[in-house]
Amino acid sequence: MTALIGEKMTGGYGGADILHSCTVGVHTGEIAVIVGPNGAGKSTAMKAVFGMLPLREGKVVLDGKDITQMSPQDRVREGMAFVPQTKNVFTSMTVEENLEMGAFIRDDDIQETMEQVFTLFPILKEKRRQPAGELSGGQRQQVAVGRALMTKPKLLMLDEPTAGVSPIVMDELFDRIIEVARSGIAVLMVEQNAKQALNIADKGYVLVQGRNRYTDTGEALLANPDVRRAFLGG
């Protein structure tokens, strides 16, 4: 089932368009990865899906509902969760408080969801009373993802979750992201580490200059000699 589709999105921050009829989408329980060279509009596409970029054309549909005109805050209520690339935790607040803030819009009991997050990231349970600012880069990313999961989203969006973490931590994070997807959440992420990301992707989008260049399964993209030569370093 298609959880999300951003269809033929065209727009920019005023002035020239950055995205040109760009389409990205993801099914429930799957991982879609947006890759591409610097300045390809990867993060911009993500922002467009989340409503942080005004669209001139195209639409965004979440679970069959057109949400193109909604503000980011309303999209969170509709079941979108977004993990920004930087400044994605409350550094002065404890891990537990970060997770509580993630669930701020919920009025029901959040304890169960918090336990699920702690099962997914056991280290967070251990450090629940520590300020998030005192954690390592990889642990912070776990807090950030955990915070986003607290709303029980249908769609989890990650903007370069592995930026600035070591390769070992990166593999670990990818494993967790696969687990998240298997639990029935659609995952859409932007990644610099294209090869590793496409490895775990059910669907891959290669963007160049705000346009879809290649769209295929992760496997097929990795096997495609053109993609390998141009974007994956051979």
Partner: protein
């Protein structure tokens, strides 16, 4: 031995107790500055006048109570009027926010522009307060003035030195403990308090989490207004109420907030006492204290006073400058709640 006791009592009477009371008042004032800085992200120069407005409102209501014979003796009547002062201050702040600060907030103006706007509000409030209550000194104190009197203390202990604890001083310290306790409980254990800390820490992420910015700003003004009204009234109760003093009080209050680390409530509390104790210890004349502590032949002829009390505001100014040069983030590395 008795000399040492006498010296200690002397120091308590003239340094410890006054500094604790003054520090409590500064801490309450600095907490308001820090909260507004953390949430609205500008230094609110009007804070001294907000305190003044709060104290004035409480005094006006107090006069009403006194005229109709309502009293809570032995406690000062102004305490009964304080809740009305708090409400009046909050109402005034919400009107000011709506008519001045909100405009610049919606325009996403730079913090310095909000700061200048707050200076405008400061002058306006200063004028308004003097227009309403007049520029003169107002006596706030009534009821039982002392918890411990000098003579009673001497009789009780048999020491040469007396010790006085004014009701206003006791109330100041008690009020500071209660207010700071409640504030920290609110910030650390309630949903609204946590949303304020989150908003102060990382505005964008707080918005993503569904925190309503207007709500957080409203909380900030309510808390700042309450703390300011309490601090202003206590200061008036302890010294006397005069509109002009609050202009001068702005410096030690900002010094307290910055020394502690602006944006940090713990910092503002500690900073308030740091400033108060520095001011009082530096301007106190140690002649009599030394006379008790050292042999007679060593006793100083002068006052043994580091700085005349006229220069007490220079102390907070110097501390402010030193902190900004040596450790600009303050003791508790501020900028977030």
């Amino acid at each position: 031995m008795e000399d040492i006791l006498n010296a200690f009592v002397l120091l308590s009477n003239f340094v410890l107790i006054p500094a604790l009371a003054y520090g409590s008042q500064l801490a309450l004032g600095a907490l308001g500055v820090t909260l507004v800085y953390g949430i609205l992200r500008f230094s609110n120069f009007a804070h001294g006048e907000i305190m003044s407005f709060g104290a004035m409102s409480a005094i006006l209501v107090m006069w009403g109570f006194q005229a109709s014979g309502v009293s809570i003796a032995p406690l000062p009547t102004v305490l009964l009027a304080l809740p009305f002062g708090i409400l009046a201050t909050i109402a005034m702040l919400l009107i000011v926010d709506r008519s001045v600060f909100r405009y610049y907030r919606k325009k996403r103006a730079a913090p310095v522009i909000l700061l200048i706007a707050s200076a405008g509000v400061m002058f306006f409030l200063n004028g308004l307060v003097r227009f309403i209550i007049g520029p003169d000194d107002q006596r706030v104190v009534d009821g039982e003035r002392f918890i411990i009197r000098v003579r009673e203390f001497k009789q009780m202990t048999g020491l040469d030195q007396g010790l006085a604890l004014k009701t206003s001083q006791g109330i100041s310290v008690l009020a500071a403990i209660v207010c700071v306790g409640l504030l920290f409980w609110f910030l650390n254990h309630t949903r609204s308090g946590k949303s304020m800390r989150a908003y102060s820490d990382n505005e964008d992420l707080a918005l993503l989490s569904g925190v309503n910015p207007d709500r957080v700003v409203l909380y900030a003004w309510i808390l700042a207004g309450s703390l300011a009204a309490i601090a202003g009234t206590l200061y008036g109760l302890d010294k006397s109420y005069k509109p002009f003093t609050f202009l001068q009080l702005l410096l030690p209050i900002f010094a307290a907030a910055i020394v502690g680390g602006i944006g940090s409530p713990i910092g503002a509390t500690v900073g308030g006492f740091v400033i108060a104790f520095s001011e009082v210890t530096v301007t106190y004349a140690y002649k009599r204290f030394l006379a008790y502590m050292v042999p007679d032949s060593w006793a100083p002829e002068g006052l043994a006073q580091l700085l005349s009390t006229d220069y007490k505001f220079a102390v907070s100014f110097m501390i402010l400058v030193i902190v900004l040069i040596v450790r600009p983030t303050g003791i508790f590395s501020g900028k977030t709640l």
